[in-house]
Symmetry: C2
DNA sequence: TTCTTCATGTGCGCAATCGCACATCGCCGC
DNA sequence: GCGGCGATGTGCGATTGCGCACATGAAGAA
């Protein structure tokens, strides 16, 4: 049953009873309507209408088509208004993805956003792999550093996350603590396993210490932070997270060049929708209260 | 929401995830698919798909369309098979119309036909006005005499109904009975009110008796027959009906030139369907047992 | 009856739409 | 790393399908 337009034409003819009336409603010439009906009947090899000079009377098959197409037209009308309206309303699914390090920072934002717009279903994804916005995997992504600029993505800076060198109390008791970069010799460090990391503080760390001083490496940021807390060595921890842990001692204070900029990334097609705009406004508003740089 | 074909195209893209795949299924060029999607999105002023090199990923609106169009396609497929199949099966409505005089002759035929094909819903219409087959008002019409030959109608002879002159016993007691045409003088006759009747026996009656001898006229055949039964005068009654009434006395026996041929009339479009053919076969088979001419 | 109106049906010329070709871009495998 | 493959996207020529005009027929009104 290909060619749905012919079904639509036949529907209007069955509904109105005349070819001319259907042509008016459809905005086409009545000859077109006749051709559509002829084509449809030929393909179905069945008569849909009794033709006479006063119009077209639907046969049993035509009345059957009328009933089916009636509901179809209503379904399509509802669909159309839903789609046209959904760009204007803040409802439906909102998929946000971020690096796992800032998940607990974002979660209260997501929750309050959902409370503000009860029609929204929030999906907050944090995974090792980078979700691709151009595949429609997420509406909004929160990313760190100066990542690759993909086309069709609109990027906005969010905040700069302050990072400093910390050590656990247990590490200090065992090895002491350097008071400056010059006293690093003989100390152990925790660093990411990825050689090609773009994080500025890890690049600084690799440049500042001997390779054999890096005695603990991991690929997952959460695992690195846990290693520092447990005394595996001196390592970088985000300042706002370290502040919550009295067991961590600041070895070197945060430096501007270590700061990692958080970026909001959205796909250009979705960026203009009210739903995304509402979330971006909500997110930026919440970020004003974050004390990451103080 | 005009242009249902574009919805169908978008549906296949949403279902398969690629423009090329949808083009294959639809049997069109992939450029056409792209144009349909672009046109539809422009009219809805909303994105239905995220475009990327590996295909089209449906957005929320696209998934909504997918769900709606999925059921639509199923509905249309069912509709198509119903319409294609209904020409081959004996089911659905069967509308038969006839002159009222033979209604009780036809009714047992209709009932046995319905019992033979339980899927059939029989509508048996008898009305003063002639139902028009070309308006789709009936599948089969049983008509009397040599009516006007309408185009697109296929006409088949059914039986010849024998008609004779009868009088009620009460009329005979009061006025006596003529034994031949020559003794008609002084008798009263019952005739149709219609001047332009085509019934051969009524034309014969008007030619054979003086106008003032026709003392009772009616337009409805059943009323004429009732008038004869009640003694209003001598009149024509179908032989098979008079045989059931012992109160009626045959005045003149049936003549071949009085016989009224019953015709089966069907519209050419419906004549070929199995449902109509099955009914015609059933009707002719039943007519063989009728004793109208003996 | 005759005229008017409103419907279907058809030939013809044109335009919107389709198919083809090619360009381009990512991804996968060698 | 790089070449092939399969996807999207675009310009151009061909064709399907459209609108127009007119013929035709039936029903209702004067």
């Amino acid at each position: 049953m290909d060619n749905w337009d012919e079904i639509r034409t036949a529907f209007q003819v069955a509904r109105l009873g005349t070819v001319s009336g259907a042509a008016d409603v459809l905005g086409v010439h009545h000859a077109t309507v006749i051709r559509h009906i002829d084509s449809l009947e030929k393909r179905l090899s069945a008569k849909l209408f009794q033709r006479h000079a006063r119009g077209y009377t639907p046969t049993e098959a035509g009345r059957d088509l009328l009933a089916v197409a009636q509901t179809t037209e209503e379904q399509f009308a509802h669909l159309s208004s839903r789609i046209k309206g959904q760009g204007e309303t803040v409802a439906g699914e909102l998929v946000v993805t971020s690096i796992s390090g800032v998940a607990d920072l974002l979660t209260p934002v997501m929750v309050s956003f959902q409370k503000k717009y009860p029609g929204v279903m929030v999906r907050f994804l944090t995974d090792m792999r980078v979700f691709r916005l151009d595949y429609g995997e997420a509406h909004v992504a929160i990313r760190a550093g100066a990542g690759p600029e993909e086309p069709d993505n609109v990027v906005q800076p969010l905040v700069r996350v302050r990072t400093a060198l910390y050590a656990a109390k247990s590490y200090a008791d065992e090895h002491g603590l350097p008071t400056s970069e010059a006293e690093f010799a003989g100390h152990r460090f925790v660093c990411t396993d990825a050689e090609a990391t773009r994080a500025p503080f890890y690049r600084w760390l690799r440049a500042s210490v001997q390779p054999e001083q890096i005695t603990y490496a991991a690929s997952e940021p959460a695992a690195l932070e846990a290693a520092v807390r447990m005394g595996a060595g001196i390592g970088f921890v985000m300042a706002f997270r370290a502040a919550e842990d009295p067991d961590l001692i600041e070895v070197l204070p945060a430096r501007p060049e270590w700061e990692s900029p958080l970026r909001i990334v959205t796909h250009v097609d979705l960026h203009r929708t009210r739903k995304v705009q509402a979330f971006l406004a909500h997110l930026k508003d919440a970020a004003k209260d974050w004390k990451l740089c103080s």
